[in-house]
Amino acid sequence: MRVRGVVKVGVVNYGVGNVGSIFNALRRIEAEPLLINNTADLRSVDAVILPGVGSFNSAMVNLSRLTDELNRVRGSSPILGICLGLQLMFKGSDEGELRGLGWYDGWVNRIRGPRVPHIGWDYVKLSGDCNLGVARGYYYFMHSYAVVNPVNEPPFVGFTKYGDSTILSVLCDEGNATYGTQFHPEKSGKLGLSILNGLVNLARR
C-alpha cells in the first residue's frame, strides 16, 4: 500500500487493558505504534490492530464510535485482530450481550477443555497459505472464549486442538485484507514477531 519508510500501525484503544506488549513488539520490528482513539487517528495509520485486551462488551462499547470508519478502512489498510480482537469480527459472543462487528459468520463461545482459561503455548495447524506469513508451530494463547469447531475453509485457515474441540486460531481473509489470530503474536517469540512483520509488509504493498 505505497508506504515507504516507517509503517504506522494503529492499535485501537478500547479504554481498558494494556497494549504495552503490542507497542513493544511493533517497536522491535521497527514499525511505529500509535494508539487509535478516534476516526481521525484511524485514517492516519497504514495498518490497524484490534488488540486482545478487556472483555467483549467493554470493547464493543468503545468500538462503536469507530465502527463506520473501520468498515470504510477495511479492505484498503490491513487489519489484524488479536485474541478478543479476532472475536469482535464475529456476530456475537457468549461473553457479552452486544453484537460484534459481524464481518464473519459464527459465534464466539466459552471454550470447554481440560482447563479454562486456556493459557500457554499451543500448536497451530494450517490448512492453507496466508499472505500474512503465518507458519505452523507453537504460539502463546491466553483466553476463555473462541470460535469453536469452525468449518475448515477460508477465511478460516489455522486451527488448534483444545480438549475435544477445535479452536479457530488463524483467520486470513486476503480479499478484505482482514486477519485474526486467537493467540498473541506479540507474546509468541520469533514466530509471533514474523506475523506482525507480515502485517507491516502488507501495508507496504
Binding site: G17, V53, Y138, S188
Partner: protein, 254 residues
C-alpha cells in the same frame, strides 16, 4: 490424578529483583547477586523459556519505581509473556505493573488480607492475567499459607486457599514450597499432586528445582515449572532441559 497430558508444559525462569539486580536466596533468606535482569531475560528467551517472572523483593516505595523501570526494560527486550509480582497491594499497583509491560500480575499477601481484590482484578483485567501466588510450608502434615515474603504464618490451608481463589477468579496459581525453595533437592511433589486434584486452573510449581529429573516429576502434576538459581547459574540450560522432557513424553514447545 495427573494433569491432562495433552497440554504443553511451560518452563518459567523467575527473577527476584532488588534495585535492578537479579538476586536469589535460600529458603527465602541469604541473598546473592545473579546478574542483570535484561541480559538474563534475553538469554532465557533465546534458550526457549516459555514465560518469565519478575518479582520485586524490595517492596519499599523508593524501590518500587526502580522495579517498574526494570519491568519496562525487560518487557521491551523480550517477546514472551511476562509475569510480575511482589508488593502488589491493590488495583493501583497492578495497573502500574500492566502499564510497565506486565502481561500478568501475581498477588500474594494482599489477596490473603482482602480476598475481594482477586475478584476485582479478574473483572478488570480478565482472569488470565491474574495469578495468585501462594507461599506454603508443611506444618503438622498440612500445607500452611505464609505471607509477607514467607515471614508470617496464617491459619489458611494452602489447598483450601487455592480452591477459594479459583472461585474468586484467579486464572493461575504460582505455588512455592518455602521448605524446598533454593535447596535444589526437588519440588514438593505431594503438594502439586494434591493441588492438581483440588483446582482446575493452571498451577505453576516453584521451589526446589536442582536437576532435570525434578522438572520431569513435577510436570506430571503441575502445568508449569518455575525455577531461578539453576537457570541463573547455568546449572541447567533450558533448551537442553526441554529436549530431555520431550524425549521422556512431556509435551513442551521446542
Amino acid at each position: 490424578m495427573t494433569r491432562p497430558i495433552g497440554l504443553v508444559r511451560r518452563i518459567i525462569p523467575c527473577m527476584d529483583v532488588d534495585a535492578d539486580i537479579v538476586v536469589k536466596g535460600v529458603n527465602f533468606e541469604g541473598l546473592r547477586v545473579m546478574g542483570d535482569p535484561v541480559e538474563l531475560a534475553s538469554r532465557y528467551e533465546e534458550e526457549g523459556a516459555d514465560e518469565l517472572f519478575l518479582l520485586d523483593i524490595t517492596a519499599t516505595v523508593q524501590g518500587r519505581s526502580t522495579f517498574l523501570e526494570t519491568v519496562r526494560n525487560v518487557a521491551a527486550a523480550v517477546s514472551i509473556p511476562l509475569g510480575v509480582g511482589g508488593g502488589i497491594r491493590g488495583m493501583e499497583d497492578a495497573d502500574a505493573a500492566f502499564k510497565a509491560g506486565a502481561d500478568k500480575v501475581s498477588i500474594n499477601t494482599a489477596a490473603v488480607k482482602d480476598p475481594s481484590i482477586v475478584a476485582k482484578l479478574s473483572r478488570e483485567y480478565g482472569s488470565q492475567s491474574v495469578v495468585v501466588a501462594i507461599d506454603t510450608r508443611r506444618i503438622n502434615n498440612e500445607w500452611r499459607v505464609f505471607i509477607m515474603g514467607g515471614r508470617r504464618e496464617t491459619l489458611l490451608n494452602a489447598v483450601d486457599w487455592a480452591r477459594t481463589v479459583e472461585e474468586l477468579g484467579a486464572g493461575e496459581l504460582l505455588v512455592t514450597s518455602i521448605d524446598a525453595d533454593g535447596t535444589r533437592a526437588g519440588y514438593d511433589i505431594e503438594l502439586y499432586r494434591r493441588l492438581a486434584d483440588a483446582v482446575n486452573i493452571p498451577v505453576i510449581a516453584s521451589g526446589g528445582a536442582g536437576e532435570p529429573s525434578h522438572f520431569l516429576e513435577v510436570l506430571k502434576y503441575a502445568d508449569a515449572a518455575l525455577a531461578a538459581s539453576v537457570f541463573h547459574m547455568g546449572v541447567i540450560n533450558i533448551s537442553i532441559l526441554k529436549a530431555y522432557l520431550s524425549e521422556l513424553g512431556i509435551r513442551v514447545r521446542i
